[in-house]
Amino acid sequence: MDFTPNNAERPKTNQEPVVVFERIEKSFFGVKVLQGVSFGVGVGRIVGLVGENGAGKSTLMNLLGGNLQPDAGELRVNGHRYTPRNPKDARAAGIAFVHQELNLFSNLSIAENLFLTDFPLLGIGVPWIDRRALRSRAAELLRQVGLDHSPDTLVERLPAGERQLVEIAKALGAEARVILLDEPTTSLSSRECERLFALVTQLRDRGMALLYISHALGDVLRLCDDLVVLRDGERVGSGATKDFTHDRLVSMMVGRQLNQIYPERRAPIQTGSSESMASPDGGAVLQVDRISQPGIVRDLSFKLGAGEVLGISGLMGAGRSELARILFGLDPFASGEVRLSGELLTGSPRERIRRGLAFLTEDRRQEGLCMEASIADNLALVGLPANSRTPARFLDFTGIQSAVTRMREAVKLSAKATDGQAVRTLSGGNQQKVVLGKWLLMEPKVLLLDEPTRGIDVGAKFEIYQLIHQLADRGAGVLVISSEIEELMGICDRILVMRGGEITGEFRRDDFDRERILAAALHSSKA
């Protein structure tokens, strides 16, 4: 296989990079996730793309892969306008993806995986696979990525690091000129990482263009030629890697979001001196004691005080959402115990709701709401049992209606929306208010919030923050999981940082420091 770029295609004359993003804009449900991002990836360059969760990296990748279409701006590949409608178009344009969660079929052999979309056929007029050609071409690709397995080896027998290499071999087999690597090292050992980096460097030297997305800043600084830093859908920095340092990258990623405003936090009820919620353990409404679940969380312990807003920070995959699901009884845990107001918390979500636990999930469409059902039905859902009378459990419609009206006002739901309107038709902010309203209806003792303001406009965010504070002021404990450090610093009394299923940092309100929080969350040598 020849990787010297074809002279005719080589955009050397006009110096334009192979892949160009130009003033790309993209919104989801009225929220801008990319606001005019421009950059390019040149031949023989490794470009690192860094940014916090939600900065817009995945969206850019989906645009390149044809899974999404930009609202404005244009993509160019080899100097031509590039408008992929599906992943197949991306493949045809010579763009390949190596994903964080691998896209290999573990029940098939390496060779079959490599040529899944393009099996070599015997030229006899019927679609009969040429096994010999398949094997020899696969062996050649494996040699190029430095793997010495038989092409017939089943992928399930390979360790994660070698599967990553098979992914790259697959990209080479598709004659890709551009390879995008998305968090390729998350599941690799340090030796496997070295092997990957050596291969990536080698590919660059052979004239390929590589886009490398990672949270591991140390790796990015070492491996990449150029860097692009994204924050809130904007490019906040770019240039040759030598102009960046680890600290500078972190502060650029974190930035200062002047458009964010937070309601003033009144002095929280001190843990240990709570009188509003007298519980056996000095004001702690929720006690988590040495919770472990292999591969998810390890030996987690913390207390949530009555009237406290406790933030949990960390990167995606740090185990934050998993922790919330374990607390709510959706996922199992192997050892440890959880206590609510001093008593052991067990059973189904339904039982836990009855005890006063509430959970706003990160996925409001799939898990938070019945999208086709009305605002009133969604608001009432959690409170239905309380509004029904035995023996036949007839519903008290007057009670339900007044609860719905009360909650609509409490969460300041848009006055234009009618009770009977499907929640699908609401904006993200109003949808989230409906989810919050349905939980506030039951006056929870502990509210777990997972990314409560994701995809929501600034105004609605502010109102949700206020609701969180109001609930805490009434003596409930609130646990907020968020990828936005700024947000947690704005609304929490205390922040715990998780990494790899463990708590790696704890910060009180008076020593909040975004760079130290991010450092505790990042998988890097500096942390």
Binding site: F328, L330, S348, P349, R350, I353, R354, F359, T361, Q366, E367, G368, L369, C370, M371, E372, A373, D377, A380, L381, V382, L384, P385, S388, A392, R393, F394, L395, A422, R424, K438
Partner: protein
């Protein structure tokens, strides 16, 4: 146009149109005798489709209703049948038989629901296989006990349910009304819709999703058993073959009415319209002396169109 199609009464309009279209051309269509005939003939379908509506609302499907009819019918006849019946001739025969039939329906429903909710098997597969199993069981039971498939000599008190149109009507209307109240006014009803809309969100909101799902299939089983009572009384026979041809009509009537195969949407009243429409078409075409095959073809097309409308509505709504 979309206002008419989107209206709750769209299918009722269709019934009126069908009626107006048949009336001038169909001999004997507009007559008391035919109306009575139409009414009694559609009652088992009404009860079945009402039960099915509750399952469809949860996003499931119950294909086993015809098997439940067969098995209940045999069980009931074996209890109260005049010659070989277990309680033949006893004054307790009828109440025990009716209770036995309803229990049979409930138990089959419980089995279906347990497989679907607790073992997480697909409803389609579960109810398709239980159809085979319980149909077979019904035949086996009848053959074993009376050495024939049909069981005659049912007590007169029971047969009155079939002979007196008003009694059958009262039973069917009662069953339908109970289902309506259950869906519209009770906690379980709201939970059925919630599970159909989004089982994950429901679980997280404290809905006992597995229990609600099982409840839907048990109810469907009980309603099928009530249909078995109507059919057994009208045909004066206990037989494993009752209602065998009804399955597509049952799901068809619910879907024509507007109950969604995707769950979360449906009303008993809509199903009543659907049953009325399907029965009107069937009856009218029959009186026009069309062959059974042709009628089946036409009904098939009507149901297919209704299912297509369901997909369009769902995609139109969810896609935008």
């Amino acid at each position: 146009m979309s206002r008419i199609i989107g209206s709750e009464f769209f299918v009722l309009f269709l019934c009126l149109i069908a009626f107006a279209a048949f009336a001038p051309f169909t001999p004997g269509f507009v007559s008391t005798g035919n109306f009575e005939n139409l009414l009694t003939a559609c009652l088992p379908l009404l009860v079945l489709a009402t039960g099915q509506t509750m399952v469809l609302i949860t996003g499931g499907i119950d294909l086993s209703v015809t098997a439940i009819i067969g098995l209940s019918s045999v069980v009931g006849a074996l209890v109260m049948g005049g010659e070989q019946g277990w309680l033949g001739g006893s004054p307790m025969a009828m109440p025990v038989a009716v209770a036995g039939m309803l229990a049979t329906g409930a138990l089959v429903g419980l089995f279906n629901g347990a497989c679907i909710a607790w073992l997480r098997m697909p409803a389609f597969m579960v109810t398709l296989t239980t159809t085979m199993f319980f149909s077979g069981l019904a035949v086996w039971l009848a053959k074993k006990v009376v050495n024939a498939e049909s069981i005659y000599h049912l007590p007169p008190a029971f047969l009155a349910l079939g002979a007196q149109a008003w009694m059958a009507l009262a039973l069917a209307v009662f069953a339908t009304f109970v289902a309506h109240v259950l869906l519209a006014r009770t906690l379980l009803g709201r939970w059925l819709y919630a599970v159909g809309h989004n089982p994950r969100a429901s679980l997280i909101s404290g809905v006992p999703v597995a229990g609600v799902t099982v409840g839907a299939y048990v109810l469907s089983g009980i309603f099928a058993a009530m249909a078995a009572i109507l059919l057994t009384a009208r045909l004066e026979t206990g037989s494993p073959n009752h209602g065998k041809a009804l399955l597509l009509d049952v799901i068809g009537a619910a879907v024509i009415g507007g109950t969604s195969l995707f769950g979360g949407k449906g009303k008993v009243l809509w199903t009543v319209y659907g049953v009325l429409f399907l029965s009107l078409i069937s009856n009218g075409l029959n009186l026009l002396n069309l062959s059974d095959f042709l009628i089946t073809i036409i009904k098939g097309v009507v149901i297919l169109v209704a299912a297509l409308l369901d997909v369009w509505r769902t995609r139109f709504v969810r896609g935008s």
